[in-house]
Symmetry: C2
């Protein structure tokens, strides 16, 4: 078998066999196939597509390119969740403690922020001491002891994915639905997941900007699950406006703690309960979504979800006093409330613009390895559809630099648009 | 400007600007753009195409990636020819001496064999001493003195083409009409050509297997010529059966010498006169193709073309006694005549199969740098449409290895197919 023939087959719209896909992924992993061949192949895949069968074989080949975790001793049905990324998406920080508090152990490997979207690891690191790099032994031990792990992706899992992703990023081959789906699913499978709740975000603040692509990605990941013998539920949720109010690492941790305490923004709480309910059903804690939702609500109401979050922070070396007293979290030196420039119905709060402004303030990275400013970001005070009076608070900016603050105010002000006539609120979920 | 944005633009079917193309080619030349980005870009170009304007900008950028020759002092209108490659195509060996003998100086840089198709340089090197590597000074001096040069491509000309071609070869991106056209035309322009006769081969023994692709390539190269201010004439000629009778380096040199002496196969002679006539018209030696053809015929009839060929061999260090006595050319130890297995009309002599069998005998290279056996090859005795009697000579094989000879006989026998009913001869030219 020769790499160039596999490239040519895909170039000519052929369907690759399992053996050809395994040969190629193996070549990527070992470095025997040079980057330039992988790049040409990825472009051919992006432009000519892959069938669900090919994508499943690709997913499994990537998953098996390194260690594959098996947590069957610790948890009967390992349920994972994945969000395709958005602005203000701190869902894992609430959902996982709630689910774990309901008796379903969850060990999740998360990522860092990418472009305008935040990353769970970055958010957690605003709590001093929190360690995201765990060994497989630590992962397993903690999952057994407290039923909850939230750490970084191990380098030993799905190494082909890391190499392929780095190359896709610089060759214009990120936006391929089969490549996105196989990247997500391969990591979940390598992490030992038996079942996965996928939260596919759609909107201007998501990587999928339209419903058609979101549905295609969701359907494909569900099909991969079926073909690979994993239970997969895909939700399609809105990302045209930020989720919740807070955008920025420490601000989002604070909002997550508020939510675990039974407060927090209504949309974010609702989103978390919905995802948690699906995880509990997949984990066979109950048969019905209604019952599962009641269990998740109860874990928040009785404080057990918050207690599980505290245990998580302690187990991974974080200073739990920051959870008990969120005022200790990093604070920006400049905090300014920006008022509504006019009265009207809020028509848009463009999530992408808010996410990009947050990165510009220092909450995200312009390039890999850039340091983060955990304190900065925004609290958006309204949701699309709200009726607003001129002069009432529109959003609050948290910054550590006067000039950046002014730029951020201009961007996020422009991200808010108004209408004289009532605007319907955005749905939380599309499917 | 970033390479990845240019890749994405082409991936999304955008039309690249001249500046973007120059930036990319410059990055290839300097090595600042890594191979994996070039590979992804080449695949996007192959799958999404390029407009004639983009292809012309690409051609000029590649031509200007190194030294650009200017022979205006030596020759008023520098006319070049290029064949896209085929089996038994020794046209340059006859056309160039004929044209030079008619008073139009020609300096041509040729290539080596590629895959199943032979290369002019390899053929010439079957004459001991012939040097193909000339400096620019030697090139210019010889062009001035005898009006004829036939050497290898200088490394200083169009270096981006060499790099791009090597990468395309291993990334499945050879078969792109804009990339093929820009590769051919950039070398001609860097070589200082004011006018070019292109011989686009079509058929199973050519890189373009169907007329549609051949027309597309020919049209595109003519358009590049127009846009780049060069006169270009494109001929489309048949390559379903070998051109002439001889296939193999020394055998083809011998056939070329025969033709320069006024003998040689009718189809090959006709092909050469046609190409030579177009060159003479482009070089403004005469206005009409008929007159030009008469001039070329005359140069063969009066021996001046052969004399020019002798001067070429002497000027480039070759032993001219091999021209005067072609029996001195390398001879195979095993020469076997294979007879027709049946009577009938010759339906096919599949050029590609003959070319591949010739490579297998040692006349071509399985991989770069392989040594050549100049003596081996075939003489095919018939043309498609010929009426043949069982037992009469079909072809002669020249080999230096018994086992290889047997395999070659099997392949080339199979390349000949017969029909009980008359078969029309193949045309020499389609357009």
């Amino acid at each position: 078998m020769r790499a160039v023939d596999i490239i040519i087959k895909k170039r000519d719209k052929g369907e690759l066999t399992r053996e050809e896909i395994r040969f190629f992924v193996n070549g990527i992993t070992t470095g025997r196939i040079p980057d330039y061949q992988t790049a040409a192949w990825a472009m051919a895949v992006l432009l000519n597509g892959m069938t669900p069968r090919e994508t499943t074989d690709l997913t499994l080949a990537i998953a098996q390119s390194g260690e594959v975790l098996d947590m069957s001793d610790v948890v009967k049905i390992a349920v994972d969740k994945h969000s395709t990324g958005g602005v203000g998406d701190k869902t894992s920080l609430v959902v996982l403690p709630a689910v774990a508090a309901c008796g379903l152990p969850v060990g999740k490997m998360s990522g860092r922020g990418l472009g305008f979207s935040g990353g769970t690891l970055d958010k957690l690191e605003s709590i001093p001491g929190y360690r995201v790099d765990l060994s497989t032994e630590e992962f397993e031990k903690q999952l057994k002891e407290i039923g909850l792990v939230l750490c970084g992706q191990s380098k030993d899992l799905a190494p082909a994915d890391g190499k392929l992703y780095a190359l896709r990023d610089v060759t214009g081959t990120v936006q391929s639905i089969p490549l996105i789906a196989s990247s997500v699913m391969s990591k979940k499978i390598a992490g030992g997941a038996h079942a996965v709740v996928l939260d596919v975000k759609v909107g201007n603040g998501a990587f999928m900007e339209n419903l058609k692509d979101a549905h295609e990605l969701a359907d494909l990941m569900v099909k991969i699950g079926q073909l690979a013998g994993r239970k997969v539920v895909a939700l399609i949720s809105d990302m045209n406006q930020p989720l919740g109010f807070a955008v920025g690492n420490a601000l989002e941790v604070r909002e997550a703690i508020d939510t675990l305490r039974g407060n927090g923004p209504a949309d974010f709480r609702e989103h978390c309960l919905h995802v948690a309910a699906h995880m509990l059903v997949l984990g066979e804690k109950t048969d019905s979504l209604e019952e599962a939702r009641t269990l998740a609500e109860k874990s928040i109401a009785d404080g057990s979800a918050l207690e599980k979050f505290r245990q998580l922070i302690i187990a991974q070396g974080g200073d739990v006093s920051y959870v008990d007293d969120p005022d200790k979290l990093p604070k920006a030196s400049l905090i300014k409330v920006v008022n509504a420039p006019r009265s009207g119905y809020l028509e848009q709060v463009r999530a992408r613009a808010v996410g990009e402004a947050s990165v510009a303030l220092g909450a995200g990275r312009a390039k890999k390895g850039d340091p983060l400013d955990y304190a900065v970001g925004f609290v958006i005070h309204h949701k699309v559809g709200d009726k607003i009076q001129e002069g009432e608070p529109l959003f609050t900016v948290h910054a550590n630099d006067e000039k950046k603050m002014e730029e951020a105010i201009a961007s996020v002000s422009a991200a808010h648009t108004f209408n004289d006539f009532p605007v319907p609120p955005l749905p939380l979920f599309y499917a």
